[in-house]
Amino acid sequence: MPSGPKSAPTPTTEARGDRAAPRKASRRFDPHRFGPVVGLVLLLVVGTALNPDFATWDNMMNVLTRTAFIGIISIGMCFVIISGGIDLSVGSMAALIAGGMILLMNALAGSVGSPVAVVALGMLFALLLGGGFGLAHGYLITRGRIEPFIVTLGTLGIFRAVLTWLADGGAITLDNDLSDAYGPVYYGSLLGIPVPVWVFLAVSVAGAVLLNRTAFGRYVQAIGSNEQVARFAAVDVDRVKLLTYGLLGVCVGIATVLYVPRLGSASPTTGLLWELEAIAAVIVGGTSFKGGEGRIAGTVIGAVLLSVISNILNLTSIISVYLNAAVQGCVIIAVAFLQRRRP
């Protein structure tokens, strides 16, 4: 490796100063950080120009509410990807958690008097189930030494098949009076902002603090940046990885808790392709797929950006709604192109 001249200290310092200056400047215009923001702003301008209903409070809240599910999952996914892992199963996991919690709540409805208590128990169960699934992934990946792609590809099939079997190929539907008690969790709002948006916001803030201001978050970045270095630096690599998958599982649980009251049922198509949307949100948000660095704020923007696209297609008739996934796909590729690193 070539390094700076060494004989004279003065030129070395100068060279270093010269090198540091452009580095700093390039960081200021880092496309990783600002690409998604610029994209979102552009989309908002386009949406406003195309349809006057777009830039209304109600429509914005509608978009954010729909973003909440994928958004919350992608916060957890962000940790997993930064640590150098991946989880393909989150959509199927959400479906199974939804089915499981509905079955539990229906069963409890007879014995526990208050519907509110039943719903609370159901929600707790969903979070525990999600956390348990995530820890199981983490355990297989760290102790079992299986690639995360393979483990979660396996559970992707398992979770959805078990749900389909539980639902006997149809749908598992929540009892009516429970639906009434549960409804506000999705349909209610506080200070004019829907509950799912509040939860999304809370999870985002918690995620950002956890990633940037705690030892755990630093370890996650260190492991994704170079696992071996982290191991030699006395970081408990297995435990940290295990926890990232557990954390993602809990996020899936939270998303499911918000999602179930929307339709009041779970079917084999519940949460279909959520894993891809969540991964896309993380990547569009400027997190490196190779791990090591990533941003919660970017992930939130990525998730919002993807649902703004489908919202615009819904509101306007320029491009068929059927092409929604195609447009999102183009955006993902375009963003990845803008963020690519120079070799």
Partner: protein, 500 residues
């Protein structure tokens, strides 16, 4: 067959950093040239220019009197110039033959002509004395065999000038002998050879003349026979080599700080025992593959152990991972700085505090507290560079100082440094030696694993020599000499090869 190379006023800049300052000298046909210089002297960069991997920023490269411009390594290969990389560049999953023709496959129409390629490969392999299977995968070869394959591959391209960068770094003495025999034969066939090595005994043995570079400049050239090793070293370093090391202070006598008994790391170290006293600098010498690094990875719990005990400050400890080692007052800085020591893509602060984050989290991390730790480390260890940049923006020496600071953050009683001055320039080397002496003076036990014998001799109170997984000798300070250490490291039966 031979060719004559002339460098004239070659400069090379990477961004604002100039690594070559107008280098000019000739390479004469059919001779073996030893190219010497410290890390960062510009040898590798110059050779990459010759082999077409880099273009010079200015200056002329002439082959047989004619100025040439190579756009890539293929252009250089067409002129018969081949660089054999330090880290061998073979594809592990392809066979020997496939590797030898990679990018130069012989075809018949649309299809590969496997038979023709195999025939020619076998012929070239026989010439270099390769006895393995030409259809075997490169993955299954030992390093020495890979090297022969590389040379055979160069022969296939009709190499007239061969550049070898540290070719013996991981060879055993008998493998080295075979390589030197081959170099002799190539020279007789009229091939010009550039031999880059830090091992001056090898340079002395096989080169016709030495060319010395320092700080991106040509310094001197001389016939090897007229240049003693001490002189070569002084030309490389550019000053007398007397003030490199601090004075040795005698360590405390009494209870050992760390006691290892009968430790076995299967496949790497057998029945190793040693004591380390407070204030002592204990060296570990041995050839590559003697098991030194692996012994300590075993002590740290990173490799399975099948026997033995470790005591630290009189307490028996069972260390299962580096975390438990750290809690018991032992940290280990790996020889592989980029792979195991530092997160080069992360900031200085993040690197420094990684092992002690709990001290800075209550429970949220305090950047101010981390920043104070960094300021302290920068001052105390003399780390020069942009404190807000990434670790990769530091020079090798400053990276190493940062790494040392990082592994000292937990305040270990026992500190193990593996190849502490690898890839570090002379000035920083001296800083690191004085730093190690300071750590010992503070009452810590310091273990230095090194392949640089001069460093072990100058620094250590005692040196343990390992050979073939076992401790072959413990040499006290008053008997430390290169000859003594080499004799124990390679066994006396082959020691005649390295002595003159």
């Amino acid at each position: 067959m031979s060719l004559h190379v002339a460098f004239d006023g070659i400069t090379k800049e990477f961004g604002p950093v100039r690594v070559l300052h107008g280098v000019g000298f000739d390479l004469n046909p059919g001779r073996v040239h030893g190219l010497l210089g410290e890390n960062g002297a510009g040898k590798s960069t110059l050779m990459k220019i010759l082999a077409g991997y880099h273009a010079p920023t200015s200056g002329t490269l002439s082959i047989d009197g004619e100025p040439v411009t190579f756009r890539n390594s293929r252009d250089a290969e067409k002129r018969g110039i081949v660089l054999i990389h330090q880290e061998l560049s073979l594809a592990d999953d392809l066979t020997v033959t496939q590797n030898m023709f990679l990018g130069h496959e012989i075809r018949r129409g649309w299809l590969l002509d496997d038979r023709a390629m195999r025939e020619r490969a076998v012929q070239a392999l026989r010439q270099v004395g390769f006895e393995g299977d030409p259809d075997g995968k490169v993955r299954d070869l030992i390093v020495a065999e890979k090297q022969l394959v590389e040379i055979a591959k160069a022969q296939l391209r009709n190499a007239r000038l061969l550049i070898m960068d540290e070719p013996t770094a991981s060879l055993t003495p008998s493998e080295c002998d075979r390589l030197f025999g081959l170099i002799d034969r190539l020279r007789r066939d009229g091939v010009t050879i550039v031999y880059i090595s830090h091992k001056l005994d090898e340079v002395e043995r096989i080169t016709d003349e030495v060319i010395v570079m320092r700080d991106g400049r040509f310094v001197a050239r001389a016939p090897t026979a007229e240049t003693p090793r001490q002189r070569m070293a002084e030309l490389m370093v550019g000053r007398e080599l007397t003030d490199m090391f601090p004075d040795k202070q005698s360590p405390a006598i009494g209870k050992p700080l760390m006691a290892v008994r009968g430790l076995t790391v299967p496949g790497w170290a057998e029945d190793v025992s040693f004591d380390l006293h407070p204030g002592e600098i204990l060296g570990f010498a041995g050839l590559v593959g003697a098991g030194r690094t692996e012994l300590f990875e075993g002590i740290l719990g990173l490799r399975p152990r099948s026997g033995g005990t470790v005591e630290i400050e009189g307490r028996p400890v069972v260390l299962r991972n580096p975390r438990e080692a750290m809690r018991n007052g032992l940290t280990y800085l790996s020889e592989d700085r980029k792979g195991k020591g530092l997160h080069v893509g992360m900031g200085l602060r993040e690197n420094l505090t990684l092992m002690t984050l709990r001290h800075h989290a209550h429970p949220l991390l305090s950047p101010a507290s981390e920043e104070r730790a960094l300021e302290q480390a920068v001052a105390s260890f003399g780390i020069r560079g942009n404190p807000q940049g990434t670790a990769s923006s530091l020079s090798g020496g400053n990276q190493q100082k940062l790494a040392i600071a990082k592994f000292l953050e937990p305040d270990p009683r026992v500190f193990v440094l593996d190849e502490p001055t690898r890839g570090v320039d002379v000035g920083a080397k001296r800083d690191i030696y004085f730093l190690i002496a300071r750590l010992a003076a503070e009452g810590r036990g310091v273990i230095v694993i090194s392949s640089e014998l001069i460093e072990l001799i100058g620094l250590c109170h005692r040196v343990i020599v390992m050979r073939g997984r076992r401790v072959s000798a413990t040499v006290p300070a008053d008997r430390l000499s290169e000859e003594e250490l080499i004799a124990h490291a390679i066994g006396t039966e082959v020691s005649t090869h390295t002595h003159h």
